[in-house]
Amino acid sequence: MTPETVIEISHVWKIFGARADVALQAIRDRGLTKAEVLSEFNSVVGVADVSLDVKRGEIFCIMGLSGSGKSTLVRHFNRLLEPTDGKIMIEGTDVMALDPRSLQKFRNEKIGMVFQNFALMPHRSVLDNVAMPLEIRKVPKNERLRQAAAILDIVELGAWGAKFAHELSGGMQQRVGLARALAANPDVLLMDEPFSALDPLIRRQLQDEFIRLSKILKKTTIFITHDLDEAVRIGDRIAIMRDGKMVQVGTAEDIVMHPADDYVADFVAGISRLKVVHAHAVMQPIDAYVSAYGTIAADARRVNASETLSTLINLAIDDENPIIVQDQGADVGVITRADLLRTVIEGTEVS
């Protein structure tokens, strides 16, 4: 475990049902499928042999459709669910080894969680809701309300502290949910489809706000979503889950350019590549270009390897000459208008 790694889980299994252990053994011995496990043991496989690690400050998106086990998986990080098997290390703590009391302390101090349906307490004011983690920590009342008010200001709800949660709109409620998760100043944020219940415009707004906040706070975040667009916008790395299994892990660009299988490819088809794909993924080697078309003009435009596809297209509109890609001062590749067009059409659903 490198010092950079904050969360490391390995070979986590979760099987729901009375005979989970037997079912797991059978899967290992005989390689049963999810359907076979259901019919034979009346058990549901929620998470199947998932391993991943998350670095400090990283936003790690777990993406999958409903029933893919993503929400189940995230509930293992703070042991809201007990894994059937596997190991979970967070900040060097073996979460599985904690006794109930230490687990409560661990949850309170290390982990903040945001829920899809907000899960605010309707009988309490917004301020009291935000102060809840501190109340559980037994921070004196005045102090915790002061801290909660400061956090509310960060999510721009400072004026709403005295209202009850249900008096706020959905988007505001989720900002309260986020403030509550931040109030305890945890090391890790778990966000379980936080924006899924909101309408598209508000969702976009909250995504932007979250991106802005996470740049300031630099919290290690596990972000669950069923929306690949959202994952691409927010995540540093994305993991795609299907039927409880991890299908692919990588950056947005990895996943868009090199989907691991047809399932992922299907997802990726709808994603606009313009902001996701960068110059180094589009370019062809200089040698290959030179042997096919001859030398490149010395005054050709040069771009950095990390320029996005949309910038490149804008450059290519004005001038059809090839563009040279640079990485740390050295010329590493070349991009023609044809390369750009090919990249765009490959990633677009034509039918």
Partner: protein, 268 residues
């Protein structure tokens, strides 16, 4: 008949062997009953009346306070005051004990489906079995008098508070509980800061129902020696005295309404 004999044999055995238990129950009932009788019967009427009116005012507003003073005046002027207070002490005891037992029982049963499945038929039995049927063994166990009347009332009126406590606690959104747990809440915090506040409307309704059902038992309870308003109704029944029966009946209704508004009022 063999079956009748065996049931009787069982109850005889219970009477003989359960004496200590029944004495203990009687003792507890006596303590509460005596305390409430001091409050209601021995305190001068003006004090009690003022407190009741003040309480209704605080919980249900001015209008209800005016109504309740009219109700109290009705009882006072028609000579039902003392009997009404005796009734309140008796049924108050039954309701208090029902609530004191019922809410913790409901809290215990709410997250234990098998235990609840076990007590549910017992509660059905308590609520539907005609009072006259279980009065017979109750008299055998407790003799006639006020403790027996309290027990009978509790058997009939004690179940709604359990049921509605369970209902209320089960209605607490799982997501809110999960959120509290995810922030490190322990069981005590979960119970006192999440479950009970969120279930409280339902629990209040349960308390209210228990009080109402207890009052409905007032006439039956007077059959086994509880004094009070029920006695008047019973007497009117025996002599076919329509006027007395109706007047006493209204007193019972007014007691119920005042209590109901005091308990319900806080809900708004």
């Amino acid at each position: 008949m063999v079956s009748i004999d065996s049931v009787e044999a069982f109850f005889n055995w219970a009477v003989l062997n359960g004496e200590a238990l029944f004495d203990a129950i009687t003792y507890v009932i006596r303590i509460v009953l005596d305390a409430l009788e001091v409050v209601f019967v021995s305190t001068p009427w003006i004090v009690i009346a003022s407190i009741i009116i003040l309480l209704t005012w605080l919980t249900a507003g001015v209008r209800m306070a005016i109504y309740s003073s009219a109700f109290l005046a009705y009882m006072g002027l028609l000579g039902f005051w003392e009997k009404a207070m005796t009734t309140l002490a008796l049924l108050g005891t039954a309701a208090c004990l029902s609530i004191l037992i019922g809410i913790p029982l409901g809290m215990f049963a709410a997250r234990r489906p098998r235990f609840y499945a076990f007590i549910q038929p017992i509660m059905d039995f308590m609520q539907t079995m005609p009072a006259f049927v279980f009065m017979i063994p109750v008299i055998a166990f407790f003799g006639t008098g006020k403790p027996a009347a309290v027990v009978t009332t509790m058997i009939f009126g004690g179940t709604p508070v359990v049921r509605l406590t369970v209902l209320g606690l089960r209605g607490v959104p799982e997501s809110v509980r999960e959120a509290a747990i995810s922030f490190g809440a322990n069981k005590w915090y979960l119970l006192t800061k999440v479950d009970l506040p969120l279930a409280s409307p339902s629990i209040r309704a349960g308390i209210n129902q228990t009080i109402m059902l207890s009052l409905a038992m007032v006439v039956v309870a007077s059959l086994i020696g509880a004094k009070g308003l029920g006695e008047d109704v019973l007497e009117a029944l025996q002599y076919a005295n329509v006027g007395q029966g109706i007047l006493a009946g209204f007193s019972i209704l007014f007691c119920a309404m005042i209590l109901d508004r005091i308990v319900q009022g806080g809900r708004r």
